[in-house]
Amino acid sequence: MLLLAPINFIDQLLLRYFSAETINHVIWPFIQIGLVVTLVAGWVAYATYLERKISAFMQARLGPMRVGPWGLLQPIADGIKLLTKEDFIPEKADRWIFFFAPYIAVAAAFITFSVIPFGPDWAVITDVNIGLLFVLAVSSVGVLALILAGWSSNSKYSLLGALRSSAQMISYEVAMGLSLIGALMFARTLSLSGIVNAQESDAIWYIVYQPLGFLIFLVSGIAENNRAPFDLPEAESELVAGFHTEYSGFRWSLFFMAEYAAMVIASAVAVTVYLGGWYFPFVYRLTEAKGYHNVYVIVSLLIFLTKLTVILYLYFWLRWTLPRFRYDQLMDIGWKWLIPSALINIIFSALAIFVVQALDGWHGIKTVESLANGLDLTGTGKAVMIVMGLAGLGLTGLLLARINWRSRDFNLKSQRRNIKLVNLPQGKPAVPVVAPAASE
C-alpha cells in the first residue's frame, strides 16, 4: 500500500549495493537504531517540555511561551544553551571519572531502548529472549554512574547524594524485579515482545490480573528513577543538586537526559508488561486481518506511545503534588512494604495459576483454552484470575496493615491534631487607642 511503498523502495535501492544478508543484519538495524535514538532523544527533550508545561498548568502559570509558538522550541534552545556552556571540571575532582560518569548514565539508559517493543514487527530493534532481564540489568548500571559522579566530584553534597542514590536504587531494584515475576508467570517468556503477544492472544492486559504487581512496579519505578516523591539523591532543598551538584553544561544535561530516558524506560516496561504494550482491542482485526500490515504497525506504535504518555503524566503529576520523603522513610517503604508485598504477590500469582488449572475440567467448567502462547484463558478463567488478583491486593494490604498496625508511620493520620484556640485576657494597652477629644 501507500505506507508500504517507501520501505520496499529503500530495500530495492539497498539491494543494488549490498547483499540481502548485510541489509537484514547490518543496514536495517542501523536504520532502526538511528531512528529510535533520534526519536527517543527528541522524545526525552520534549518530555522536559511536557513536564514544564504540566507543572505550569498545575501551578497556575503558563510555562515556556517565548521560544516558538507556545514555547515549542524551548527544548532546542535549552539544548543549544547547554552545548555552548563551559565544560567545567572542579580542580579537586577525579578528572577521568568525572569526565566519564555522565556517559555511563546516558549509555545505560539508551542501550535499554534496543529491546523495548514500541510496536510489532519492524517497530522493535531487537527481540532478545531475555529482554526483561536485559532491561533490569542494563538500567541498573545507571546507579554506577551516579556513584562515580558523586564520588569523583569531591564534594560532600555530591557524595551524600551518591550514597543516598546507591542505597535507594539497590533496595528498590529488588522490589521492582520481584514485582515483575507474577506477570512473567502468566506470559511464560522473558521476551518483551513475547509478553505483549501473550497479552494479545489472551485479549487482556495483565494489570487486571496483577493489580498489586502493577502498583509495586510503578512505585519502585518512580523510586528507581529518583523522581519525586523519592528524589532524595538530588533533593534540591537539602543537597543542593545531589550527585550532579558539580556538573554543569552538557555533562549536566547528559545526566538530565539519562534521568528522563530512564523514566521513559520504566514507563515503557510498565506499559509492556501490565498495560498490554502495543495491544489494543480491535486494532488487529481492523488492520492486519485486512492486509494493512504497515498501518497495523504504525497504529500499534501510536497506541504504545499514548499509553507511555499516560504513565509519564502520572510521573509528572506525582512529582508536582507530593512532598519529598525522608531517607529513612524511603527505606522503610522499600523494605517493609514493597518487598514483602512483592513476595506475597508471587505466591498469589502462583496460586492463581494453580487454581485456574485445577478448575479446568472440574464439574464441566472450562477455564484454560491453551498454554501454547502464555496463558490463554476462557471467560470463566479470566474471571477467576481477576478475583484472585483483587483478593491478593486486598489480602496483602490487610496483612501488611496488621503487621504495621502499631507503628507510628501507619497511624500518622490519627496524629493529625487540631490546635487550641484561646482568647487571652487583655493587658494594659501600650498605646492609647481612642484619641481623647481635648488632646490639643
Binding site: W320, P323, L421
Partner: protein, 377 residues
C-alpha cells in the same frame, strides 16, 4: 618522629570520623545567607553551629546618624518580608517617647495593613517551608495569594516589598479610594483558597511523616530560649503581644490565639495557618469599624523625643519585634537596639536539630521562619 597510628582492629576501622558539612551561605534552603555548620554521622546531625553576619549592614549604627523621621525606611529592610510591621515598631516607639496621640483612623489602618502583612509573611513562609519539604506546587499557589496583598500594598504605599508605610504620628496619606473593596475582595477569597492549600498538605501522609515529631521543643524550653511568635505558641505557651500589651487598635479587636500542643514542626505549621485565618478576621473587623477622621497627628517641625530610654514591641509575623531607643534630647537617637525575633528564634536551631537527619534540618530552619535581613541587621 611523627607516629602515624594505623587502624588495625575492627572497631577502629569502623570508627570513622564525622563529616563536617557546610550548609550555606549559598544554599537553596537556608532562607538567605545563613551558614549552618553540621557535624554529621552518616546523615544524623551530631552537632551544629550557625554562622551569621553575611548580611550585616549596621542598621543600628546608621540609625544613630539619622533624624528620627529618616530611620523608618531603614527599618523596612530588616525583615524585608514584613516591612509594614517593622516600620510600625519604629514609629510607635518614637510616638510613645514623644507622647504623641495618633488619630484612631490611623490606628485602624495600621491594624489592617499589619495584619495583611502578617498574612503575606505567613504565605511566604508556607511557600518556602513546603518547598523545603519538597512540595513545589504550594510555593506558586501561596505566592499567587500573596500577590493580591502586594497589589494592595503597591496601591497604598507605592511599593510592594519595602513599603515605607508609616510616618511618625500617623500615615503619609489616607487609604486609597478602592481600598475597602480591594481588601474585602481579598478577605472573601482567602479562606477557601487557604483551605485548598491545606488539603494538599495537612492530611498528606508524606507531609505528616516529615513534620510530626520533628524539632520538638517544650514550652519551658521555648520560654527559656526566648522564642516568640508562632514558634512559641506552637509549644502551647499563650503569649501574644497583641493581647498582652495591645498596640494600634488591637484592644478593640476580637480574635483568638492558636496554640499547639507538642511543639513540633507540624504544630507550628497549624498555628501559622490558623493565624492567617485569625488575621483575616481582624482585617474584616477593623474594616467594619474603621472610623473617619484625620490619619495624622500634629508633629513638631523636628522630632526630638525627651531625654530617656524606651522599649516598645509589637507582635510581628515572626515574633516579638522590639525596639529599644535611647534619646539624648537631640534630633538623632543616641542608641537604637532592635530585638530581632528571627535571631532569637534561630538560637533554638541546635536544640531542635540534634539527632535528626539532614533533611529535617531543612524542615526545621523552615519552621523557625527566619529572615536573614533581620538576623544580621
Amino acid at each position: 618522629m611523627h607516629q602515624v597510628e594505623i587502624a588495625t582492629t575492627k572497631e577502629t576501622l569502623l570508627d570513622s570520623p564525622e563529616m563536617v558539612l557546610n550548609m550555606g551561605p549559598q544554599h537553596p534552603s537556608t532562607h538567605g545567607v545563613l551558614r549552618v555548620i553540621l557535624k554529621l554521622d552518616g546523615e544524623t546531625v551530631m552537632d551544629l553551629d550557625c554562622d551569621i553576619g553575611y548580611l550585616h549592614r549596621g542598621m543600628e549604627k546608621i540609625a544613630e546618624n539619622r533624624m528620627y523621621t529618616m530611620i523608618a525606611p531603614y527599618w523596612d529592610r530588616l525583615d524585608y518580608i514584613a516591612a509594614v510591621s517593622n516600620g510600625l515598631v519604629w514609629v510607635e516607639t518614637v510616638e510613645q517617647m514623644m507622647g504623641l496621640v495618633v488619630p484612631p483612623r490611623a490606628h485602624y489602618l495600621r491594624t489592617i495593613l499589619t495584619e495583611l502583612n502578617r498574612i503575606a509573611s505567613h504565605l511566604l513562609w508556607l511557600a518556602t517551608h513546603a518547598l523545603d519539604i519538597g512540595a513545589v506546587t504550594v510555593l506558586l499557589w501561596a505566592l499567587r495569594e500573596r500577590e493580591e496583598i502586594l497589589k494592595i500594598f503597591e496601591r497604598q504605599f507605592g511599593a510592594r516589598l519595602t513599603c515605607h508605610a508609616w510616618r511618625v504620628g500617623g500615615m503619609p496619606n489616607d487609604a486609597y479610594d478602592e481600598f475597602d473593596a480591594d481588601v474585602r475582595r481579598f478577605a472573601s477569597n482567602f479562606p477557601k483558597r487557604l483551605d485548598e492549600y491545606e488539603t494538599v498538605l495537612s492530611e498528606n501522609r508524606i507531609w505528616l511523616s516529615r513534620t510530626v515529631g520533628i524539632g520538638v521543643i517544650s514550652g519551658e524550653d521555648a520560654v527559656a530560649i526566648g522564642l516568640s511568635g508562632p514558634a512559641l505558641r506552637g509549644s502551647g505557651v499563650a503569649w501574644d503581644i497583641r493581647r498582652a500589651r495591645p498596640y494600634a487598635a488591637y484592644a478593640d479587636m476580637d480574635f483568638d490565639i492558636p496554640l499547639g500542643e507538642n511543639g513540633d514542626t507540624y504544630d507550628r505549621y497549624l498555628v501559622r495557618l490558623e493565624e492567617m485565618r485569625q488575621s483575616r478576621r481582624i482585617v474584616v473587623q477593623a474594616l467594619d469599624k474603621l472610623p473617619d477622621g484625620p490619619v495624622n497627628a500634629k508633629l513638631p517641625k523636628i522630632v526630638k523625643p525627651p531625654i530617656g530610654d524606651y522599649y516598645h514591641s509589637i507582635e510581628g509575623p515572626k515574633g516579638e519585634i522590639g525596639c529599644y531607643l535611647v534619646s539624648d534630647g537631640t534630633a538623632q537617637p543616641w542608641r537604637v537596639r532592635v530585638r530581632p525575633p528571627s535571631l532569637i528564634n534561630l538560637q533554638a536551631l541546635k536544640k531542635l536539630c540534634l539527632g535528626h537527619l539532614v533533611a529535617d534540618v531543612v524542615a526545621i530552619i523552615g519552621t523557625l521562619d527566619i529572615v536573614l535581613g533581620e538576623i544580621d541587621r
